[in-house]
């Protein structure tokens, strides 16, 4: 006998299918279906979603799960809990683990841990270069066979243009996008925050926006030359948005993401040296923040991704110079993004859901992120009005490094469903 579920009376928002209506959603054997038989209706498990929105499960192409090797910060299990708490049903983890994910063996290790412990879909990425050192190409073909959905050196941007060019050419054989953390290292030696009025005032070493813009331009040019798809991670500067805009006008095969924190916060947050405002690339100016919002509105930037980067309290609680870069993102993403984009940016919730569902899925060629008939029933239910406090109860990550600690956010995950099965409900993981 089949398993059936009805999510009743919610506002279904499915941007891929241009759908926005208050109705029932039917699930049968882990798939979305358009109707159920009378018998199936009678025996179905029913969830009341009145007053809530029902969306495809969110997709995040940029998280750090810290496994293998840094499991004091996060594990694949706890990172998947944090994702589920944020309404994410599919996440893509970065290869800057210990060891780096630059061999099929490490990818297999990750896949095994995912199968054993993750409550959402987790796809790994592999390194561009061996050891993320930027010198010799990693075995990208083997990584592909092991199951990676993209290639990236994440925090260590490939500096050598020749290596980057060859990586782009090589990746095309495997239909893999290259995701790049755009940072010129020579311009950012020892830099810990955006270079500008605040770095001058605080005496901290500045990271000029030009160091990002240069690499975004480099990547656009190499993409134009090779035809390969380059995805620019966490764009943070107005200059980089403009470089992307011009590349897209020439139909270059580039995409880009913005993070909720770069959309919501500026460098002024560092005024008391709060290390939960330290991340890479850094928070920049109000002008940059506005440019990111504009970039998402006009399609210059394609998606929102979190760069969920857990670090323990003891690692973050120290001198600003010595604290590691990065903040949590999974749990707070939906609330922060909808607050900014539906609030001050005036976008519709449908547009915001698109940035967090089918658009990131398409970028890595997954067919998730929709509620199409026959699609896997990855679903999120949110209450757009409900508020919640960011604290040790509401964060399911192993770490607590968030600039929103103690703050009240609007937009709460009610339930997260993966393959028809509820994995998160009432603030807790459902076993």
């Amino acid at each position: 006998m089949s398993t059936t579920r009805i999510i009743r009376n919610g506002r279904i928002i499915d941007p891929k299918n241009a759908r926005d209506e208050v109705t029932d959603l039917f699930i049968k054997d882990g798939k979305i279906v358009s109707s159920l038989t009378k018998e199936e209706l009678d025996t179905a498990t029913t969830t009341d979603a009145s007053g809530k929105i029902v969306t495809p499960g969110l997709v995040d192409v940029h998280v750090h799960l810290r496994e293998p090797g840094q499991t004091h910060k996060e594990t694949i299990e706890t990172g998947s809990w944090a994702a589920a708490a944020g309404g994410f049903t599919t996440i893509v983890c970065m290869p800057n683990t210990s060891p780096p994910a630059d061999t099929a063996g490490t990818i297999q290790y990750i896949n095994d841990a995912v199968a054993r412990s993750a409550v959402v879909n987790v796809y790994p990425t592999g390194c561009i270069t061996q050891g993320r050192l930027g010198e010799k190409l990693a075995p990208i073909g083997s990584l592909k066979r092991a199951g990676v959905v993209a290639i990236t050196d994440d925090g260590d941007c490939v500096q050598n243009n020749e290596i980057m060019r060859r990586a782009l050419e090589y990746c095309q054989m495997f239909d893999l996008p290259i995701m790049d953390h755009c940072q010129d290292m020579a311009l950012t030696q020892n830099a810990v925050m955006n270079e500008g009025e605040w770095s001058i005032r605080l005496g901290l070493k500045g990271w000029p926006a030009a160091a990002e813009d240069i690499i975004v331009a480099r990547n656009a040019l190499l993409s134009e030359m090779t035809g390969a798809h380059v995805h620019m991670q966490h764009i943070s500067s107005a200059g980089a948005v403009e470089v992307m805009r011009r590349a897209k006008q020439r139909n270059v095969n580039v995409t880009a993401e913005a993070t909720p924190h770069h959309l919501a916060l500026t460098e002024a947050g560092i005024k008391d040296y709060n290390t939960n405002f330290k991340m890479n690339p850094p928070l920049r100016t109000e002008k940059d923040r506005q440019a990111l919002i504009e970039g998402l509105k006009d399609g210059t930037l394609d998606i929102v991704a979190t760069d969920h980067a857990p670090h323990t309290t003891y690692e973050k609680d120290r001198e600003f110079d010595y604290a590691p870069f990065g903040i949590l993102g999974s749990e707070t993403c939906f609330a922060v993004t909808q607050q900014i984009l539906c609030g001050e940016a005036g976008m519709s919730i449908n547009e915001v859901v698109a940035l967090l569902t089918y658009k990131p899925a398409e970028l890595i060629k997954l067919d998730s992120g929709t509620l199409s008939e026959g699609a896997t029933a990855d679903v999120a239910i949110f209450d757009l009005e409900d508020t919640w406090e960011v604290n040790e109860q509401t964060l399911l990550s192993k770490s607590h490094n968030t600039p929103w600690w103690g703050e009240t956010l609007t937009g709460k995950t009610v339930e997260t469903i993966v393959g028809g099965k509820t994995v998160f409900q009432d603030g807790k993981i459902v076993d």
Binding site: E197, R201, G203, L204, D272, Y273, Y314, R318, E319, F320
Partner: protein
């Protein structure tokens, strides 16, 4: 104005009246230092720990001297002799010092914001003796005190800070202090070390030495900090000296009675001509002497010393 702060982290958070309170108390201590018995018992029984995690001679000695004059016990500790080499964090080191019953920590550290960081979890006073390129408040206070002794009210006075501004905590603290005291501040030096962005702190940015010195009431020279900058900021020390070194000819561009200041250590023949450093115009050693009185005032005020008690000394 009454002093209500536990810590001295920087000049930026201070009000003008608070700076003037420190000067007032420093003046009283300076008179005491001229007596035959230079010691006052106001911090008797207190233990002050000088936690100096970056090299320093002058500042550490001056704090030790100031604490001794106030009858406190002082223990100084350097990075190479501490648990840092064993991997202990600043927070744990500071908590251990607190657990040993210290009454105050004076911190010198290479990381900006480190003194503020300590002050947030320690219930004893924290005095910033220099946090990276951020602030060096007692240096700016002794500079301000010295300037007022020579120039009187600083309102409208033209003061030029010359040299490596970008990496200088002395420059930042002086910018905050002197602008609060009403002076017109110019920062000058190579464009790589004096970026335009400093204008956001309310000062003029000038790269031409004559313009910078012309009609100034005082010039404050800063050392080129080899230890903080990568090699890309200027071509050579020789070129720096040829363009920005202060010599007698260039000093003549200043106002006739202008004073020449330097927080030390000076590099003779680099940022300042050797004879000029020893000339009548130079107040470099006065600055050092005033550093004792000013630091006595800071230690006294942050441990809750009242101004009225000081004005009728017990001894």
């Amino acid at each position: 104005m009454d002093w209500t702060r536990k810590d001295l982290i920087g000049i930026e958070p201070l009000e003008k009246a608070e700076i003037e309170t420190i000067f007032h108390v420093a003046g009283a201590f300076k008179r005491i230092l001229k007596r035959s018995v230079k010691k006052v018992p106001v911090l008797r029984g207190k233990t002050i720990v000088n936690l100096f995690l970056e090299p320093s001679t002058r500042t550490r000695l001056a704090f030790e001297m100031a604490a001794t004059r106030l009858s406190a016990d002082v223990i100084s500790m350097n990075a190479d002799a501490s648990s840092f080499v064993k991997g202990e964090t600043l927070k744990d080191t500071a908590k251990n010092i607190r657990a040993l019953n210290a009454d105050m920590i004076i911190l010198r550290h290479s990381a900006p914001g480190s003194a503020l960081y300590l002050s947030k979890f320690l219930d004893i006073p924290v005095i910033n003796a220099g946090d990276g390129s951020h602030e060096h408040p007692t240096q700016a206070l002794l500079d301000g005190f010295t300037l007022i002794e020579h120039l009187g009210d600083l309102k409208g006075r033209k003061i030029t800070i010359l040299g490596d501004i970008l990496f200088s905590r002395v420059a930042r603290s002086n910018i905050f202090s002197l602008t609060k005291l009403g002076a017109e501040v110019t920062v000058a030096g190579p464009a790589t070390l004096v970026p335009k962005t400093f204008e956001s702190m309310g000062v003029k940015v000038v790269h031409d030495l004559k313009t910078a010195l012309n009609d100034a009431d005082a010039v404050m020279l800063l050392r080129i900090q080899h230890e903080r900058q990568s090699s890309t900021h200027f071509p050579s020390i020789g070129e720096y000296t040829s363009i920005f070194g202060l010599d007698k000819r260039r000093a003549a561009w200043l106002k006739p009675n202008a004073i020449i200041m330097h927080p030390g250590p000076i590099n003779r023949g680099v940022e300042i001509d050797s004879e000029l450093a020893d000339s009548e115009q130079s107040v470099i050693l006065e600055q050092v002497s005033n550093g004792i009185a000013v630091r006595m005032a800071v230690l006294f005020l942050c441990t809750g010393g009242s101004i009225s008690a000081l004005e009728s000394p017990a001894e």
